[in-house]
């Protein structure tokens, strides 16, 4: 029987989910609030996750024909104003640059000087500034499709911020494409949505639902917005990526025209799509447990950490010699197309302390190796998808032979666990009182915890949507693309509906 181990993270998920989230980030040393309002500092362990997200997504973008480029951080106010809904959506929360230098204020301090003739907005998203370039680049149908991606920082002056989930400045990628026909642009919109689905499920081990946003949640200026939605462990939804079909709206605003095959000039069809450092928040909340971060191997900064166990200098030398051999062999192996990422933690600290540090950081495989293990040519393995004290001795050759399948198994287990959570907490609900009950927290100590995802009928009226939001803080996360047509009645007003939509509380 396993000994019951005290959780490393306090409070636990059950005790206080929002605070648990913060503590997981702190315990894994991933990020912290900066002294600049709403901006975070991404520390190395958190940043490596972003690097791994970038690396793998970038390959998928390039395989689908996209190229990276870089556009200005600043957007002249007049560009920003060109698309009415767009500016309406972003004007309330943007950083405005008004001056180009500081000068002596006569009181020993500095004051802004060099007032700009036109204010500059720090990009909250780049449709309008990239559109200005695209209008010059696109001349003929031969220039299309134009498939560009940018990795960048953006700023949105958010009122309430939360590490990774919502910060004033965040890192992201934004794809911007131009097409000859509506069909081509729609195909691109769905293609990139599917890239996000594959990435979320295969790399982040997060099962997602893809669907269309309702009008109230649409990207400002888009014709239609599609998203992927994931369930976190508090059963709330987290929007994890969006892909927008922009129709002709931004082409009109930025004057992106091309000469078609018939020699006539027409506006082009555009799309945009993005994911951000928010994905790291999703990763944390989807998988971590009361002992800290749990990382899927495909995205983990390290696959394996090795902790030498020894009592004296002689043992240390012997143990390190064995470990050197083992790591050399390990590093020559590959998981997918990547070398095995292994670290030997030989710091002068107690072994237990080290072990817990790596548990809290979510490393998939921990190996403890001491003289007795060497004697039997074995390693003592702990896995992050299992309990901390559920360890296993394994012949070291067998370990090397199986390392990729162990990593694959951990990746799958993490995905399956998330899928199971979602399945267990998703219901088809057809009665209004049942719906209201589902979204009412049962545990007064933790009012965040509630039913989960409800697939229910909706008549299509913004009015019903808003009333549900006001009553329950529940919104339509998306109209799932894979939902089948089905006759039913709107969960709020009872009018006819032909499809279920996904209702949930959301981040």
């Amino acid at each position: 029987m396993m000994k019951k181990v005290k959780a490393a993270i306090s409070p636990t998920r059950e005790e206080n989910y929002p605070l648990w989230y913060q503590q997981v980030i702190k315990a894994a040393d991933m990020a912290e609030n900066s002294e600049v309002r709403g901006c975070m500092v991404i520390k190395p362990w958190g940043y490596t996750l972003w690097e791994n997200i970038q690396k793998n997504l970038d390959v998928m973008f390039k395989e689908t024909g996209h190229e990276n480029a870089y556009f200005p951080l600043f957007i002249p106010k007049s560009f920003f104003e060109k698309e009415a809904e767009h500016v309406e959506g972003f004007a309330k929360e943007c950083a405005v640059v008004t001056h180009s230098r500081l000068e002596d204020d006569g009181k020993g301090g500095l004051k802004p000087a060099g007032k700009l003739t036109e204010e500059l907005i720090v990009r909250p998203t780049s449709e309008t500034i990239i559109g200005a370039s695209f209008s010059k680049w696109v001349k003929s149908y031969r220039d299309l499709p134009l498939l560009i991606n940018q990795w960048a920082n953006v700023v949105r002056w958010e009122m309430r911020t939360r590490l990774f989930l919502r910060t004033t400045e965040f890192l992201w990628q934004e794809g911007h494409t131009v097409h000859e026909t509506k069909e081509d642009a729609l195909e691109e919109t769905f293609k990139m949505l599917n890239v996000y689905v594959v990435f979320a499920e295969k790399f982040l081990a997060i099962p997602v639902i893809k669907g269309e946003k309702t009008e109230s949640e649409r990207f400002p200026g888009a014709v239609s917005t599609f998203s992927i939605e994931a369930m976190m462990q508090d059963k709330k939804a987290l929007q994890s990526g969006t892909s927008h079909f922009l129709g002709l709206n931004f082409a009109r605003a930025s004057n992106i025209k091309f000469q078609n095959k018939e020699g006539c000039e027409e506006y082009a069809w555009t799309t945009s799509w993005g994911v951000s450092t928010r994905l790291i928040g999703a990763l944390i909340m989807a998988h971590s447990d009361d002992n800290g971060l749990v990382l899927p191997p495909r995205i983990a900064p390290l696959h394996v950490v090795i902790i030498p166990i020894y009592r004296d200098k002689n043992e240390h030398k012997e143990v390190m010699g064995f470990i050197d051999q083992l790591t050399k062999k390990m590093k020559s192996l590959r998981f997918d197309d990547n070398k095995i990422r292994v670290k030997v933690d030989d710091r002068d600290m107690r072994g237990g302390e080290k072990l817990w540090e790596w548990i809290k950081k979510g490393v998939p495989i921990r190996l403890e190796i001491g003289p007795r293990d060497i004697e039997s040519n074995s390693v003592f393995m702990g896995r992050r998808d299992k309990q901390p004290n559920e360890k296993q001795s394994m012949n070291s050759d067998k370990f090397l032979k199986n390392i990729t399948s162990i990593l694959e198994e951990i990746q799958n287990n993490i995905f399956q666990r998330a899928l199971q959570l979602r399945d267990e907490n998703t219901m088809n609900i057809d009665k209004k009182d049942e719906f209201y009950n589902f979204f009412t927290p049962k545990n007064k100590k933790n009012p965040e915890i509630h039913g989960g995802f409800a697939n229910s009928h909706w008549c299509g009226s913004s009015d019903c949507e808003e009333k549900i939001k006001n009553d329950l803080k529940v919104t339509i996360r998306c109209i799932p693309l894979e939902a089948e047509k089905e006759k039913g009645k709107c969960i709020y007003c009872g009018k006819e509906s032909d499809k279920r939509v996904l209702f949930a509380k959301a981040y």
Copy 2:
């Protein structure tokens, strides 16, 4: 005898060097000015060079123990003011954010609103904002050294801008490190300077001189600044990377203290070092010729471009079949640790037009393959380090066998050519009139062209330095680290000096 081919770039280097530079960038489709004052758009061909610079430098940073992190874009004015020389150096050219939203101005437009209580500066460099984090992270000597790097965008409100060389916004990396002792910090300063030397010479094929900056060119707030300096083809110097020993200045400003081994609290020693998208400007100006960009293979977006030659559908099919086989084999080979980067250009355009496009883009190897080449199982190869019409037929198996050595040879040729240019245009000058004559342009049509680099004695006085600058626009680029002690007399005032310094006109 070779036919004389008209240059693809107009004007040529000889005719108008600054305009030639712009035309090379345009012809290679690397970047363009944006409609935002001083900000550039980096187009895919230019951005891929930045990606390759990042990828290779990042490996070197990690091998030397550094980790990446990310810090806020905005610096509160009060942080910025903490180091007097620092703020003095950057206050004159910084973007100031004063408002957090836009609102209706009553005239159908928008005006800034939500005035901030403290202005935010868009980072021109991050010593002060990173220092705020470091002061929390560093507590004991056990936390040292702290070795952090950031890849980011920065903004300096430059008056005169030039693509890649000087832009209001640019991309860069900035290393920031904290050490226990002065010796450790100095060691780091030199270690990273040497990383830049190796990177510039091995990857960019640009020979550089490393040395210390004089006081007038020192980084604002640094104790000493070291740089690498490269000669461009107009014989001007381009500072291509800097490494700063910051002493205790920024530790004092940001309160970075640690408990030493004796249990006493003391200020820590810090360094910072960076290279930017300016390196792309260096790459262009060091190697390109009158036919456009010339790229060293180690940094080129493509190693090989293949142009199928055919007259009809049947030939097209045959040629593409042969090319498919060849590219498959090529992609399985590696140059250093990278797969061979090859592209088949099968666009519906004239072959000659395509060839010139790739010449202007600087691809190291061009292969033309048509039915006659297939018959003899050969490829028709053009190399960017040779004349455009100097092509060579080669057995295709031999080509595959030799491809890495051909790339290596091209890389070396490009480096040797740059080294030769520098050697031929660097002189030890001991007489003032000779010095003045050296830096006086001989060709009135092209006043930019002059002697080159002069190694001359300097007494150490800022006064002499400034007079030379005023007379000739010539500055001390650096006091070379590898220069030997040698008695001599200051080139300006004739006072005693014990070392030659590097004088040049500079970007």
